[in-house]
């Protein structure tokens, strides 16, 4: 070398490069965020890499839903973990009336509700909030436009405390009310949001990391890839939350979550595996709890692919699976044995679970179908399956079960996106995958699983059964609860034995907590009421 280079200079050069590549700091990061202090803040460790926006009209991923749920209130709600009984929230009454060609629901609003900004909540805010969902047309919008058939002009404020929503007769008012409990129905402060509108985005850019709601908490800040802080809303009308702050920290590694929980740095660990939970049992200062999910892990069978087109073959495959073994051994009991297409926790759930490995019966079914040696390909995602096992271990178990009845299954593991692309194109033979309902109503599963025309699950498995599709659509519209449940029982019984599905289990969510954390009630739709938690 003709000259000497100093390592110090190199380091300085990089610093200069760093400083030059910095765009001006955005507002959120240049003011140091303040937290309420360790004693009054719940520290919640989770993998929130799916968080995209905190705007209720945009948030659709689990992490977004969890946070939005605590910052905004909806017209109607479910309490705690219950998903069957609709309770009043911002609306004190709601009457679906048959208006000839439409269902008209009249919502009467509660008096005296204020937003976090101090602005009073009126019918105009409700109309604005619901209309902007339709206008923005982001991921959750289809719940309003497709499922409920809403159009913006059919949402009206007739006086400051009354909102009338008209929906077509083809949509279900029960379903719509369930949808309204979801974060997409969060009511935003229209004055505040309008003040932050840019380029006609209905304030979406600002609401991405700010909140303008009436819920028990406000979004204090969202440091991307790092943490979200919720602070108690001083203007909240209900019981003030015990904890003045909730800090959701992005810590994707379950090992780190576990360490932090044991050390006391975390109050809640969201993504622990069943083995970790077992290891934590009995440790001082730690408690574990579980919550229901509405997820179903299932096998989809292509109903036009020979020999899967024969219903006896499908039934044989269902009959051969060792469901108990999967739940007990692979999942360590961390799941419910559910074989119907409506998960437990929703009305219309059918708890009949007749299948459990019966090799003789399965073989007999195959003989009836005239098939003795079948070869099939099972498409399996990579990574962890819900409930605490890996997809590949689950697949190996099924492969072994089916081998016993003479069905040879080859496992093909691909990345999730790849699998979905194939599945959506009806090109799978057997596909292992999961499904969660978009809103807490049985139609959120029955529709996709039975209606070929909906281009959802039934379509992907090439199952075009017009009778059951019609029955599913009719059941959605029944208003009488008893009649509706009976209708869904009939449907789910039918699909159990005739459909192209083998539902394996409904996983349970597991949480690690510090033992002083109380009031933790996980709602199967994927949220928590932080306001009820104390520590």
């Amino acid at each position: 070398m003709p000259y000497r280079r100093s390592p110090i200079l190199f380091v300085v050069a990089l610093l200069i490069a760093a400083a030059c590549t910095q765009p001006p700091p955005s507002g959120a990061t240049s003011t140091p965020p303040s937290t309420g202090g360790a004693a009054s803040t719940l520290v919640y460790y989770a993998d929130v890499s799916d968080l995209i926006s905190l705007d209720p009209a945009v948030a659709y991923e689990f992490s977004g839903v969890l946070l939005v749920h605590n910052a905004y209130e909806t017209l109607v709600k479910f309490e705690g973990a219950d998903l069957a009984n609709i309770k009043p929230s911002l609306a004190t009454s709601w009457e679906p009336k048959d208006a000839g060609t439409t269902w008209d629901i009249t919502f009467k609003l509660k008096n005296g509700v204020k937003f976090a900004s101090g602005n009073p909540l009126t019918a105009d805010d409700v109309v604005y909030s619901l209309q902007r969902v339709i206008k923005l047309n982001k991921s959750p919008a289809f719940l309003f436009t497709d499922i409920a058939g809403l159009k913006a002009e059919n949402i009206k404020a007739t006086d400051p405390i009354t909102v009338v929503v008209s929906m077509p007769k083809t949509a279900s008012p029960q379903g719509f009310l369930s949808i309204l409990t979801f974060t997409v129905g969060g009511i935003v402060d229209s004055k505040e949001v309008k003040a932050h509108e840019t380029a006609g985005d209905s304030g979406s850019a600002w609401l991405l990391d700010h909140s303008a709601g009436s819920g028990p908490y406000n979004i204090d800040h969202w440091t991307k890839n790092s943490e979200v802080l919720l602070k108690a809303n001083a203007n909240y009308g209900g019981t003030k939350p015990a904890l003045s702050g909730v800090l959701v920290k992005h810590v994707p590694e379950p090992t780190n979550q576990q360490f932090a929980l044991e050390k006391g740095d975390a109050d809640v660990a969201r993504n622990l595996s069943p083995q970790q939970i077992t290891a934590l049992q009995g440790k001082t200062g730690i408690a574990t709890t579980s919550g229901n999910s509405l997820l179903l892990v299932y096998i989809g069978m292509n109903a036009t692919f020979k020999p899967l087109d024969n219903v006896n073959v499908r039934e044989a495959l269902r009959t051969a699976i060792d469901y108990d073994g999967i739940i007990k051994d692979l999942l360590k009991g961390n799941a419910k044995k559910v074989q119907g297409i409506v998960p437990v926790g929703l009305s219309g759930a059918n708890e009949t679970a007749p299948f459990q490995a019966d090799v003789a019966k399965a073989k007999a079914l195959l003989t009836t179908a005239g098939q003795t040696a079948i070869t099939l390909e099972l498409l399996v995602p990579t990574g962890q399956a819900p409930g605490g096992t890996s997809w590949s271990d689950l697949a190996s178990k099924l492969q072994a079960d089916w081998a016993k009845i003479g069905v040879t299954v080859s496992i093909k593991q691909t990345a999730q996106a790849d699998l979905l692309t194939t599945y959506r194109a009806q090109k799978g033979q057997l596909v292992m995958i999961l499904w969660g309902p978009d809103f807490p109503d049985p139609d959120a599963n029955v529709g996709p699983f039975t209606d070929f025309a909906a281009k959802s699950i039934a379509f992907r498995n090439a199952w075009d059964d017009k009778t059951i599709a019609t029955k599913g659509k009719e059941a959605a519209l029944i208003t009488d609860i008893t009649k509706r449940t009976a209708a869904y029982k009939e449907i789910t019984d039918y699909v159990l034995h005739n459909g192209p599905y083998a539902v394996l289990y409904q996983p349970t969510e597991l949480f690690g907590l510090r033992s002083n954390v109380k009031g933790f009630a996980w709602n199967p739709m994927g949220w928590l009421d932080f306001a009820s938690i104390t520590k």
């Binding site: 200069i16 490069a17 910095q22 790849d418």
Partner: protein, 337 residues
């Protein structure tokens, strides 16, 4: 005039490499059999939503057109929008780059502060126990999987001993300093915030030690071997003959010359640090470029992957250029061929 020529040539060279990097990464990102729209929107998306997404991100245009749009964007400072986070890739990078920079700097600093003295010591005591120990440790450093090391380090340092924090850049309840450079240590010094300074330094220890082990090993070996070469040369004998104390000889003459090859590899080691950062950041929950790159690659978020690779590939040549420019000013007699 010569300076301008030199600068121009270097910049053109860097630009050529960057174009190559962008073309190759772009090609890789578009070879995917899976549909990035499906990856982003998931199983519940309707066909219309997928089509709208593809149109929005111009996924349905021919490849060359997509590249041209992209390249054009870069020239205007627009690196596209991340499919996963839906934000401008430039914003995502600006958020995560300082964290990785801080970690890599610290790891590099550690490597030099530990590696150079270790190499010298090892050379002086060649053939004896210190030499053997250092060489063994250096061998381990070049052979150890960094993610495994990280697990052990965090298991011991945080979980078992509780001496160090278990991840993140700063304590949960210590507010980070106001952003000037994005490097918490520097920013805390500027703001005079001792709490933040202490907390950020403490949080840097474990990840920097993990990340820096490999480069420490490389620098140790390089220093040792160049020291050994130098220690045997003629002018060393001359220096000794002049009667200076042995220690002074070592420190003054040998080290200075021995450092030259060591320093030339610092740039290379910095590149390996960025690679190592991917795994280290995952284990230590470090919100940096490495973690961002992993998340982007998993979600087939190719605008983000492109952005990360471009940034990573430009850091070293750019810094080298700045250093060379500074030296050119310092010593205009230097010939640049």
């Amino acid at each position: 005039m010569r300076f301008l020529g030199f600068l121009l040539r270097r910049i053109v060279g860097i630009a050529a490499v960057m174009i190559g990097v962008s073309v190759i990464t772009f090609a890789i990102s578009h070879v995917i059999p899976a549909d990035p729209a499906v990856a982003a929107l998931g199983d519940h998306a309707t066909d219309e939503q997928i089509a709208a997404f593809r149109a929005e991100y111009k996924l349905d245009r021919p490849l060359v057109e997509q590249y041209v749009t992209y390249a054009n964007g870069i020239l205007h400072g627009d690196l596209g929008r991340s499919i996963r986070t839906r934000r401008a890739v430039l914003d995502d990078l600006a958020d995560s780059f300082p964290a990785t920079l801080e970690l890599s700097f610290t790891a590099l600093l550690v490597s030099m502060l530990v590696g150079i003295p270790a190499g010298v010591w090892s050379a002086i005591y060649r053939g004896r126990m210190p030499d053997f120990v250092v060489r063994l440790l250096a061998l381990a450093g070049g052979s150890i999987p960094i993610f495994w090391l990280g697990l052990i380090v965090i298991g011991l340092g945080y979980y078992q001993l509780g001496w160090f924090p278990g991840g993140g850049r700063i304590d949960t309840f210590v507010p980070p300093p106001p952003t000037r450079t994005g490097l918490y240590v520097v920013d805390s010094l500027i703001a005079g915030d001792l709490d933040a300074l202490g907390s950020s330094l403490l949080h840097l220890v474990l990840p920097a030690l993990t990340l820096g082990y490999f480069s420490t090993a490389v620098i140790t070996r390089m220093t040792r071997s160049s020291m050994l070469e130098v220690l045997g040369q003629d002018y060393m004998r001359t220096a000794r003959a002049k009667g200076l104390r042995e220690r002074v000889i070592v420190l003054r003459h040998a080290l200075r010359n021995a450092l030259i090859p060591t320093v030339t590899i610092i740039g290379l080691t910095f590149g390996s640090l960025l690679s190592g950062a991917v795994l280290t950041e995952t284990i230590f929950s470090w919100p940096g470029l490495g973690r961002y790159a992993t998340a982007s690659a998993v979600s087939l978020d190719f605008p983000a992957v492109l952005g990360v690779t471009l940034l990573a590939a430009i850091v070293y040549p750019l810094a080298n250029l700045v250093v060379d420019v500074v030296y050119y000013w310092l010593d205009p007699r230097i010939q640049h061929g």
